[in-house]
């Protein structure tokens, strides 16, 4: 009888831990685990309505098409699909990428393109190429939550520039750049998601895009444009990507098939000026040699059918409905003091609550009602920021779940707002969702002597 293989020894004695800890690189010190992360782990329970993910809806992708394409790959190119590929990616994959970028008016030189393992790897490789510990990286506030750990693990000093309805505040950016000038420093790059930003849902206006690109030219500053959602526009006029406005001199472009086809295939790309690209390719070689050749074959097959734009059009229809449903639900269930963005595309809405509400704590409360969202602090490097905001995803769940999820979150918020009102005597702070009237007992809070409000007084 064969003996079962031994499991790894646990290496968990204090002595072991100390031995490992002594070996850890300095950058692991800024990789934090936290109670909040543990909390996010339980949002994956099946009974939870999750408005927390960034998931596209892959359920409408026709199974028959998928089967036919994979069969064709097996019949025609098994050996090649199972083999290593070039670090830069297959030329045919790059052709598909050029086609996708062309749909937004960009015309990259195929030699400037590298196929990466998702857009996430592109961000990682760009940092690997450009960022030394202590270097300044500038991004939006809030920024893509997935970029935060990348900037942190390269030990960048990250400065976040506030966004408003028109995207990143370029005047604030200029002020920050001038401050840095005085210290004799400059950022390695400015990272932006100009269209339907994750997490804020806002889109940078044309005027700001022009100013940003002009600023980059004048200061010879690199911009990293991350554009996963550009083609997912539900309304309004398409705006030119920074890459198009700049022509690719000072813009490094990051794209992905995740939101227009599938995140599971882990296929993204970067476009960079040749000297930068050269280093990115070396970095990629060290990281993983090449992107999955199997999924590159899949993309090639998929694009050869020429129906990729129709699939995106279908997704846009679905997501537009879901966004509308979420906006309607928000006005119905969120309190009057809450504000939220109204995205013209993408996957996310960013809602901001009264400042005395900590959305991390709200998440714990919401989870008791089996609903989840992303607390705003995940979108900031400084975790004390974004505490009253939340990211809500509308692409991953259907309309009924959106309505129910938002209703439950709204109820949890209403309870907090009401409690705060009772504590501070701020009667006007008690909103009560529109369909219900406050119970008589609860309105008695007005008789309570006002408790001083946070922020008032000498302190």
């Amino acid at each position: 009888m064969e003996e079962t293989p031994h499991r790894r020894r646990a290496h968990t004695r204090t002595r072991d831990l100390q031995r490992y800890a002594g070996l850890f690189a300095a950058r692991t010190g800024v990789m934090r685990s936290s109670a909040m992360r543990d909390l996010m782990a339980i949002t994956a329970r099946p009974e939870v309505i999750s408005l927390a993910g960034g998931l596209p809806d892959t359920s409408t992708f026709p199974a028959g098409t998928f089967a036919a394409q994979m069969t064709r790959i097996a019949q025609e190119s098994t050996a090649e699909a199972l083999q290593y590929g070039p670090t830069e990616g297959f030329a045919e994959t790059v052709d598909c990428i050029v086609e996708v970028m062309g749909a937004e008016g960009m015309l990259p030189d195929p030699d400037d393109v590298i196929v990466t393992t998702g857009g996430q790897q592109a961000i990682d490789l760009i940092c690997k190429t450009l960022v030394d510990p202590g270097d300044v990286v500038v991004c939006e506030a809030p920024t893509y939550p997935g970029a935060v750990p990348v900037f942190c693990s390269y030990q960048a000093e990250t400065i976040q520039i506030d966004c408003d309805a028109d995207g990143m505040r370029i005047d604030d950016l200029e002020a920050v750049l001038e401050d840095l000038d005085r210290e004799g420093r400059r950022p390695k790059f400015v990272y932006s998601v100009p269209s339907f930003q994750n997490p804020a849902g806002v889109t940078m206006s044309l005027e700001r895009r022009r100013r940003l690109v002009e600023l980059a030219r004048r200061r010879e500053l690199l911009l990293v444009e991350d554009n996963p959602y550009g083609l997912l526009r539900f309304g309004g006029e398409p705006l030119p990507p920074l890459y198009q406005l700049d022509g690719g001199d000072f813009v490094i472009y990051v794209g992905t098939f995740s939101k227009i086809l599938s995140p599971g295939i882990r296929l993204g790309w970067a476009v960079a000026p040749p000297p930068v690209m050269e280093k990115i390719v070396l970095g990629k070689q060290a990281s993983d040699l090449c992107t999955s050749t199997l999924t590159q074959h899949f993309v090639r097959e998929y694009f050869s059918e020429g129906r990729w734009r129709e699939y995106i059009a279908d997704l846009v229809e679905i997501y537009r409905d879901r966004r509308d449903t979420m906006l309607e639900s928000l006005s119905e269930h969120f309190p009057a003091q809450a504000t939220w963005t109204e995205p013209e595309g993408g996957l996310f809405i960013w809602a901001t609550l009264p400042e005395y509400i900590d959305t991390g704590d709200l998440l714990a409360k919401a989870l008791r009602e089996d609903v989840a969202f992303v607390p705003g602090q995940a979108a900031y490097v400084d975790e004390s920021r974004g505490r009253s905001s939340m990211r809500l995803n509308f692409s991953g769940v259907d309309g009924d779940e959106i309505r129910e999820g938002v209703r439950r979150i709204g109820k949890a918020i209403a309870e907090q707002v009401e409690l705060y009102g009772a504590l501070t005597g701020e009667q006007e702070a008690v909103p009560a969702p529109k369909e219900t009237s406050p119970a008589a007992g609860e309105s008695g809070a007005g008789d309570v002597l006002p408790f001083r409000k946070a922020g008032e007084g000498s302190g």
Binding site: A35, D358, V448, G459
Partner: protein, 310 residues
């Protein structure tokens, strides 16, 4: 022996529990036991019945697993289990109840007020808060009554910060505790059976003193075991910890968290089922006492099977 390891569950501390459970399973297998691994869900009873274990190792933290719920179920099934029983778990999980028990047993604990949400919503309890300054003084700590980790625990330097802290704490429980903040050395005494293990001291890195999350993060807090204490302090701390452990009726193992200042030790809380992960305090203390993790696990099992042997 066939041992069921109960872990996970639906509590907010699910993540820590899965890590505790995995480590316990690992140790049990190395000792030579047969492990039935159970992520506690709606099929818990079915899986226990199907698995027919001789004893259940409860490696669950937070509501459901550490508050007496699972323990009650195991009692009904007549299955021996590790750690404290139903009543002790219920008392430890509810910090307000625990503090009353401690005070009744003359175990020192910082002064406190407790409120439930209804008191604020319907009975105008906000009025009573104006007494806080006189009765407790600032700064103070606002905590949900039931909750294990740092979640929802807020520091209030003045009473302007109290409403916001209350809103946070009430997100976790409908009862909260406002406790006088005692500045001092942060200590933990784990008790195994009826034996106190060496004292652990948690030293937060600079600037993290009021950041309650910091103490749960590796690198932001340094742990020293055994803590460097004078003989008198050490015996006072151990006595207070044992007093708390007994007052709450703990058995098997538990961890008592204390603060030590010029006036002596004060008990903050008792964790009925403390973490058993790589970085948890109880295993560190056991190791300082010469008890490796496998022997610790073995001893905990013994105590579950022969409680009288304690």
């Amino acid at each position: 022996m066939k041992v069921a390891v109960l872990k996970g569950g639906r509590s907010l501390e699910r993540g820590v529990s899965l890590r505790s459970g995995a480590r316990v399973e690992d140790a049990l297998e190395r000792i030579g036991h047969e492990v039935v691994s159970i992520d506690a869900g709606s099929d818990l009873v079915k899986r226990l019945v199907a698995g027919q274990p001789e004893v259940a190792f409860v490696a669950m933290h937070g509501l459901g697993g550490e508050d007496g719920t699972v323990q009650e179920l195991l009692e009904i099934m007549g299955m021996p289990f590790t750690g404290p029983g139903v009543a002790a778990c219920a008392r430890c999980m509810d910090k307000v109840l625990a503090k009353h028990e401690l005070r009744d047993a003359d175990v020192p604990t910082p002064n406190w007020f407790a409120f439930n949400e209804t008191a604020f919503r319907e009975l105008g309890a906000a009025d009573a808060l104006s007494d806080l300054e006189q009765r407790l003084g600032f700064p103070l700590v606002v905590k949900p009554s039931r909750g294990g980790s740092a979640l929802g625990v807020k520091f209030a330097a003045s009473w302007f910060e109290v409403p916001e802290a209350l809103v946070s704490a009430f997100s976790y429980d409908n009862r909260v505790l406002l406790e006088r903040f005692v500045e001092g050395r942060e200590l933990a005494v784990s008790v195994l059976g009826d034996e106190p293990l060496p004292i652990v001291e948690a030293i937060p890195s600079d600037g993290d003193r009021y950041d309650f999350e910091a103490r749960y993060e590796i690198g932001r807090t340094e742990f020293v075991c055994p803590a460097v204490l004078g003989e008198e302090d050490a015996s006072a701390v151990t006595a207070a910890a044992l007093g708390a452990y007994r007052a709450l009726g703990c058995a098997g193992f538990s961890r008592v968290d204390l603060i030590l200042d010029d006036e002596g030790p004060q008990v903050l809380e008792v964790n009925a089922i403390p973490g058993l992960t790589d970085t948890s305090l109880l295993p560190q203390a056991a190791e300082a006492a010469g008890l490796g993790f496998e022997r610790l696990v073995e001893r905990i099992l013994e105590l579950a099977l022969k409680p009288a042997a304690a």
